[in-house]
Symmetry: none
């Protein structure tokens, strides 16, 4: 007979995996991919070095798994908040607000995502871009709706979606820097809405 039942084992393993991913986020955020040490990740999670290799093929696979985890959490978080609104302008506000909130609640994960998107590794970039496609599409849909309803002025929806994502990420990346919370989400949202011709 096995040490645990199938269900118990699955739960334990899922917890261990989550713990490792949490540690990995911290470590990658603090030291970057190259500077991250597997040993620190496992130890911080309360395990020995080898355990990481029972759950992930290696350092790179761990990073990719972390990307998927982050994107899923982030996209879900934002979609949930935006989904609560009907009006495109309000949705855009929620989009920026939830972005700042995500960075505040999951600083390590946000850091990893930003480092990667603006980093040099093409493979990592491609992976995370793919994982974030749903969010890009969400913004694109908001702009189209806003334009259709006459709330926003006529703009190229995809280019603008890209631009808003860029502002979002750029602004977000300023949030966690020690003491440089210069940009408030309301300022950013107001700026964007004004640019879209939606005066309050």
């Amino acid at each position: 007979v096995a040490r645990h039942t199938k269900a118990e084992r699955d739960e334990i393993m899922a917890e261990t995996r989550q713990a490792l991913l949490r540690s990995a986020a911290q470590e990658f955020a603090r030291h970057g991919y190259a500077g991250a040490k597997i040993d620190r990740i496992s130890t911080a999670a309360g395990f020995a070095k080898g355990t990481v290799y029972n759950y992930f093929e290696g350092k790179q696979a761990l990073m990719l798994a972390l990307f998927d985890e982050i994107a899923a959490t982030h996209v879900d978080f934002v979609a949930r908040q935006v989904g609560g609104e009907e009006d495109p302008a309000r949705q855009l506000e929620r989009f920026f607000a939830s972005g700042f909130e995500f960075v505040e609640h999951h600083p390590a994960q946000a850091r990893v995502m930003l480092n990667t998107i603006y980093g040099h590794d093409a493979a990592f970039k491609a992976h995370i871009f793919a994982a974030y496609q749903p969010m890009f599409q969400l913004v694109s849909r908001i702009i189209r709706a806003g334009t259709r309803e006459g709330v926003f002025r006529l703009v190229d929806p995809d280019a603008t979606a890209m631009l808003l994502m860029t502002i979002y990420l750029g602004a977000a990346s300023q949030v966690e820097g020690a003491g440089m919370h210069w940009l408030k989400h309301a300022q950013v949202a107001e700026f964007a809405l004004y640019a879209l011709g939606s005066r309050q």
Copy 2:
């Protein structure tokens, strides 16, 4: 007897230093700081490994020197273009246009700067932020002037300068990605001007 006069020697050394910095920009852009190899840098510049250490204390010092080089070039490049205009709105357009131009003309250097600004290393970030202060101040001055002249609506000059820099960098970072030139500098400038209440 010396093989070269003092002046000749100085020129040779200045050229060698520049060659190494050029190579370094390429290498750091392609592989990131941790992934960059001193050997590749020196070889690409036409020298042996040891030569790098005759000009720079080490890898980190080389990186910092490169930051200064990049910032000086970049700030000068933008200031020169912006300086050619009088009107704040035109200046802002030139600001965005020259940014895109810089990225196109100096892709490796732009890449290094962006990787660092959005990277994990606090020391590097601080160094490059400091080196870019003049550009931040330039934007801040443009906004103040525009507001004073009534060309722009009333906004917080520093927060907005920060936001514009953010947009600038975010947009710029999209430029070099193979085939994803989604954002044109005119679109970005128009978006920003609209947000500032300066309709054309």
Copy 3:
């Protein structure tokens, strides 16, 4: 209450042990001692890693047990065939013939033995040499008998026995190499008999 009677349990355990030894032979043959993985051995036998440690002290003990198993099987196999003949020349022919047969029927086990005998590990070598003593003595007895009966010319029995074993092993080791069955057992036997002065 016990799930199995003592006898049933003993049989199950004997079967498990045999299954593990079979897997081990395959694994050690394919990857050598150092390259062999306990996990692959147990999995191939249909068990989990831990089970190996219920039957053997560890990897090394498993190897030694495998040596004993191989030697016992091999010696028995050869002795049985040689025993069916009376004439020393015929016995020698059977010796070579049965050797080739053994290699064909038990390729993995033959491989393990040869790898070990010609390998670097002194402890393993000593162990397998000891286990094969009966076969060396068998050959030695055949030569003595042949010499006594005047079938073979006068030779040093032990040195010649050693030499014949050497030829046997060398020839055998060529058998399994893909497509290089250059040596037939009849050729080898004929060569040896000729060397012993026994013309057909």
Copy 4:
């Protein structure tokens, strides 16, 4: 200016390379490929770990280079001795004699070759077989000459060459085993010559 002239540098590097190969032979002979430690190899040669990697791509490349070195030395050694004789029977005697001599003079190298030939690694085997082709052909030529001249009875030249190589290797592999010098080269040569119908 370089530290040394081109010629000096080449000589130094050749010496270092040889020293590393010597150490490698010792280490691989004593511990096998898997058990060999790069660190011990370099240290025994009087260098630090890293130096090995300045001369060889890695452990495997070092092993392959060693194979080539061994085969070249060995083939040359045997060919030289055999070449001093005219008569095929005498050549065969020299062949066996020089083989035993080689093993006595280069025990580590002989050990590496034998371990590999009888080992489990197909790639290594193929490499060393290829490197030893010249020796196989040498034996094959001796047999053909002997048969042509009527010194040897009519045998399949290639199969017999293979068999003689086998005996050679098998006998040789007994030489270095502590205290088990059972087979003398003269005994082996006499055995082989007798088998070939060349009675003295």
